[in-house]
């Protein structure tokens, strides 16, 4: 959470010789981060990022406590002064209470209220106005400004109502009901969703959107004479919920949602009364209401010195450990080997474990003072990750063959699913998509690839050739989680056979064997079944190679008809022969013979038949076709001997015979 402080306000609580720059630099290393500071009229303004679980440091006194502890470790004299926790506080007794509060259960941590009368509202002193302006707040009047000033100084918001505008016999703090409306000080009409904390007065009006912003009904204005002053601490989750829902991220809301210290209520109340008396001439007109259903009980956490040093990695002497913790407000009871720390009330929520104490010691001592060591952890060797290795191999192979790698978003639109003729019932859908463009998790990469081509159309000379490797998210029946399937997509303009060849060579390079292509019976919907093949290895489906349907190309707006390849990399990897076995190379040269076959079969089948005719047929190369006459160059060879021409002629005859029968 970001806060703005002035150097002067900080020095109300911090006595140090350190300059503003030194404070900013040193404290950033060990405590809240100073995101920058600049000078205005002889004062410095700090932008400070208080760590989310350290709401106690989101104020001038909170930063001062941190700064005093930190600067001391830098050997710069520094001391916390005007510590509100040391104040002796007294309130007048025996006065009546002209107001009555009812509290619903579990909404309020502490609630302190008092009334004042004979107030004269006027502008704040110039110094106060300047201070608020420097901290990014608008000065309003002497009384409202006091509550804002104290929030910045002490980190605990307070609020004032015009007592005369309220029906105060029966004020109720309760959860709002759906549809209730509260008009806040910014004149906005807030429709409540139910469960927001509100105060209802005797006449049934909502007078406060608790912890976020006061209601307009009882707003303090120039005519106000009496005040109802409250210093409450609310249940953090309630405030957070309302503040996010209503998009009212006020400073008060940001503080309350993080659980500020209820032990600070009386000190802040006392300061507020004192300032109202000084600046608005008021006097107390009621006794103090202090509703505190479960008062803070001190807790202690223990810490073993030996463990601490092991955990931080260096030896910090016991005395330093103790002095650091004490400088942060811990009461320390130490033995030779360990200590027991009483956690101060303002650290009640964030200090629970020995690790929490270790953090305090290590950071104040200074992370920057710690040496760095490479850990000597050795894990057992594991078999190599063939999938990751193969993915990178494929990427490099394709990049070296003229293809460009693209990273597309896994999130796609309903429109893209429709245009590629898929059904979004097959996709996981986001409940809270950012926009219609990013609504579904894709289960195929081809639609995105088609869009890549569309985007590049007319921009590049030469053929557009792209690929992507990414997870596709496959819905699984009876499972909430999808199968995250590593997938390869290739989309290239140009000759279909060139890319079939590219795929064949790639698979061979990867040692994937027994590759086969067959006409696809039921390819994914964006493929044209008439020109799409299944790609299999030893009978296992690896994916598809083919042309997208004309309708899909038209829907996308593509003028060309690129070849698409989509491969399931899990299946591919399962077919990699990662330990090829040595086969002796034949000493005898192969004989090459051309042969022409007349057949109605598919070329792939003809080649298979030729190969299956004899073990002596080593390779079959396709040369070309004329009508049903297909020419091949067949290489014959043997590991045992030089083949004689007569043997080859016999083999050629037997090949022809197969096709004649």
């Amino acid at each position: 959470m970001d806060i703005i402080l002035t150097d002067r306000s900080l020095r109300k609580f911090l006595e140090t010789s350190a300059s503003a720059q030194e404070i900013a630099q040193k404290v950033s290393l060990c405590g809240p981060t100073f995101d920058g500071f600049h000078e205005v009229d002889g004062d410095f303004i700090y932008k400070i990022e208080a760590i989310t679980n350290r709401v106690d440091s989101a104020s001038a006194q909170g930063v001062a406590r941190e700064a005093a502890a930190i600067l001391t470790q830098f050997k710069i004299p520094a001391q916390l002064i005007n510590d509100p926790y040391q104040d002796k506080i007294k309130f007048p007794l025996g006065l009546p209470q002209p107001f009555h509060f009812n509290f619903d259960q579990n909404l309020v941590v502490r609630f302190v209220a008092i009334s004042l009368e004979n107030i004269s509202i006027k502008p704040s002193p110039l110094a106060t106005q300047k201070f608020l302006e420097n901290c990014g707040q608008k000065p309003l009047n002497n009384c409202i400004d006091i509550t804002n000033e104290l929030t910045i100084l002490y980190g605990l918001p307070s609020h004032i109502f015009d007592l005369d505008k309220l029906a105060t016999q029966n004020l109720t703090i309760r959860e709002s009901r759906l549809g209730e409306v509260v008009i806040t000080l910014d004149h906005q009409v807030n429709q409540l969703s139910g469960g927001d904390l509100v105060i209802e007065d005797t006449s049934g009006r909502l007078i406060d959107l608790c912890g976020i912003m006061g209601g307009e009904v009882a707003m303090v204005d120039d005519h106000t004479k009496s005040l109802l002053l409250i210093v409450p601490v609310y249940h953090p989750a309630k405030i957070r919920h309302s503040s996010l829902y209503l998009q009212k991220r006020t400073l008060a809301a940001q503080i309350y949602e993080k659980g500020p210290d209820p032990e600070l209520c009386l000190a802040v109340m006392s300061k507020a009364i004192q300032l109202i008396k000084e600046r608005a001439g008021g006097e107390i007109s009621s006794s103090l209401l202090d509703y505190y259903p479960s008062p803070y009980k001190p807790k202690s956490v223990s810490l073993d010195f030996n463990w601490l040093n092991h955990f931080i990695g260096i030896d910090i002497d016991n005395k330093t450990v103790i002095s650091i913790l004490e400088s942060l407000g811990f009461s320390v009871d130490a033995s030779a080997t360990q200590l027991s720390c009483l956690v101060p009330s303002w650290r009640y929520h964030d200090i629970n474990l020995k690790e929490d104490l270790a953090e305090e010691v290590a950071r104040i001592y200074g992370y920057y003072r710690l040496p760095s060591h490479i850990p000597t952890v050795t894990v057992q060797p594991e078999p190599k990750n063939l999938l990751l290795e193969t993915e990178l191999k494929i990427k490099k192979y394709l990049a070296c063959h003229g293809l460009y790698e693209v990273y597309n978003s896994s999130l796609i639109s309903q429109s893209l699913i429709d245009r590629t003729l898929q059904s979004s019932a097959q996709n996981l859908k986001l409940q809270n998509a950012l926009s219609l463009d990013y609504q579904y998790l894709r289960n195929s990469l081809i639609p995105s690839s088609l869009e890549n081509h569309k985007h590049n159309q007319g921009k590049v000379s030469g053929l557009i050739k792209t690929f992507e490797i990414a997870h596709t998210y496959q819905k699984i029946v009876n499972s909430q989680l999808p199968h995250e399937l590593p997938t390869l997509a290739i989309l290239c303009e140009g000759n279909f056979l060139d890319y079939k060849g590219l795929l064949e060579t790639l698979l061979t390079f990867l040692q994937v064997r027994k590759i086969d292509f067959e006409p696809a019976q039921k390819p994914p919907p964006y493929f044209d079944p008439a020109s799409t093949a299944t790609v299999t290895s030893d009978g296992l489906l690896l994916g598809y190679l083919g042309l997208p349907k004309k309708l899909v190309l038209r829907n996308i707006g593509l003028e060309s008809s690129p070849t698409a390849i989509e491969i399931n990399l899990e299946n591919l990897v399962s077919k990699i022969n990662s330990h090829p076995i040595y086969e002796p190379v034949s000493e005898y040269p192969n004989l090459l013979e051309d042969i022409t076959i007349k057949s109605k079969y598919l070329l792939g089948d003809i080649i298979k038949i030729i190969k299956n005719t004899s073990d002596l047929i080593k390779e079959v190369q396709y040369l070309g076709s004329y009508q049903q006459n297909h020419s091949f160059r067949v290489s014959f060879g043997s590991h045992q001997k030089n083949l004689q021409q007569s043997e080859v002629n016999t083999l050629k005859k037997s090949i022809q015979q197969v096709f004649q029968t």
Partner: protein, 339 residues
């Protein structure tokens, strides 16, 4: 006259004639085969000699052989030293081999992976769509905790999210290994509901986890510094600042010194435009929270660990100074071919 001597003279005469007529290197090679080959004239002549007799004739044939060898070698050298008739313009553009490119992110991930593999880390890949337990509750983030809002999470349903960080891998790794030591790097896609110059709804993170007996804060510093120096350059420095995450205790924000201003925050007395007073934020890290070790099935009394989760695009942008993260996800080939 001895018929053998006549034969020697005849061969010599023919050779002299033949040699005069050769016009190319290939013809010289043929000549060499004809006279000096296994079935060449010289060998044929040798074969006609009776065994163990006539050493004088033998010597003469040998003399002839060496004369022929010398002349052939001379002739070969003569051809080889001839100037080529056409001078070749070596500045003619080469015939281009088709060249594509690897995406920036692939290159960054490979570099990151190799950096950690060299330190003995194991590369993992854990789910990107995840249950609430691995994503939040098991990481010590209870329901309704503010940390859940901060992450700007995409939901599939109440219990299933797209991971906004790679820290879910921590619990998976602990469950896989069942006992320390653990030393893994999980690199994967992550998703957040944000889009602007420094956020895209999908991005990549790398998550390191080291668990063993006696792992301490200085080890986190060691690995952090090793990464920063390997990836950004050996002159870079790192520092930790206090931070808060639910799944680490203590938690840190890690800064790397700015390469542009060399960590000074100033360039020619003006504020550096790239960094905040000399430092760039790398990302979060911390000592694994004892509750997270417990949730992963490890005993926090017997081991400690550190973890970090940093953005691939973040380090990429820190290194390349790309002005807008959304550029990384451009599919414009004119952009892609630059890398």
């Amino acid at each position: 006259m001895d018929t053998k001597l006549t034969a020697i003279q005849t061969i010599q005469g023919e050779f002299t004639l033949d040699l005069k007529q050769v016009t190319s290197l290939a013809q010289v090679d043929l000549l060499s085969t004809r006279y000096l080959g296994k079935h060449g004239q010289i060998n044929t002549l040798f074969k006609t000699l009776p065994i163990k007799s006539d050493p004088q004739t033998g010597r003469k044939i040998n003399d002839l052989k060496s004369v022929i060898e010398t002349k052939i070698t001379e002739k070969i050298n003569q051809f080889l030293s001839l100037p080529t008739s056409t001078t070749f313009d070596v500045t003619t553009p080469g015939t281009p081999t088709p060249l594509g490119s690897l995406h920036l992110i692939t290159q960054a991930i490979e570099e990151i992976e190799n950096t950690f593999l060299s330190q003995g880390f194991v590369r993992r890949r854990y789910p990107e769509v995840e249950t609430d337990w691995y994503y939040a509750e098991g990481l010590n983030i209870p329901p309704d905790h503010p940390a859940r809002d901060d992450q700007e999470t995409f939901f599939i349903d109440q219990d299933i999210v797209l991971t906004a960080h790679t820290s879910n891998g921590q619990l998976h790794e602990m469950e896989l290994k069942k006992a320390p030591p653990i030393k893994m790097i999980n690199i994967g896609k992550t998703y957040r509901r944000q889009i602007d110059a420094s956020h895209t709804p999908m991005f990549h993170q790398f998550e390191g986890l080291v668990v063993d007996k006696d792992i301490n804060i200085t080890h986190l510093l060691g690995i952090t510094e090793f990464f920063a120096k390997s990836y950004f350059g050996s002159d870079r420095r790192t520092r930790l600042r206090p931070h808060h995450f639910q799944f680490t205790e203590p938690s840190f924000e890690i800064d790397v010194s700015c390469g542009l201003c060399n960590g000074t925050g100033l360039i020619a007395k003006n504020a550096c435009k790239v960094c905040k007073s000399g430092w760039l934020e790398l990302g979060g890290a911390g000592m694994v929270h004892p509750q997270v070790l417990k949730n992963g099935g490890l005993n926090p009394d017997q081991c400690t660990g550190f973890a970090f989760g940093w953005g691939v695009e973040r380090v990429l942008m820190m290194k390349t100074q790309l002005p807008d993260l959304r550029l990384v996800y451009s599919d414009d080939i004119r952009f892609l071919k630059q890398f």
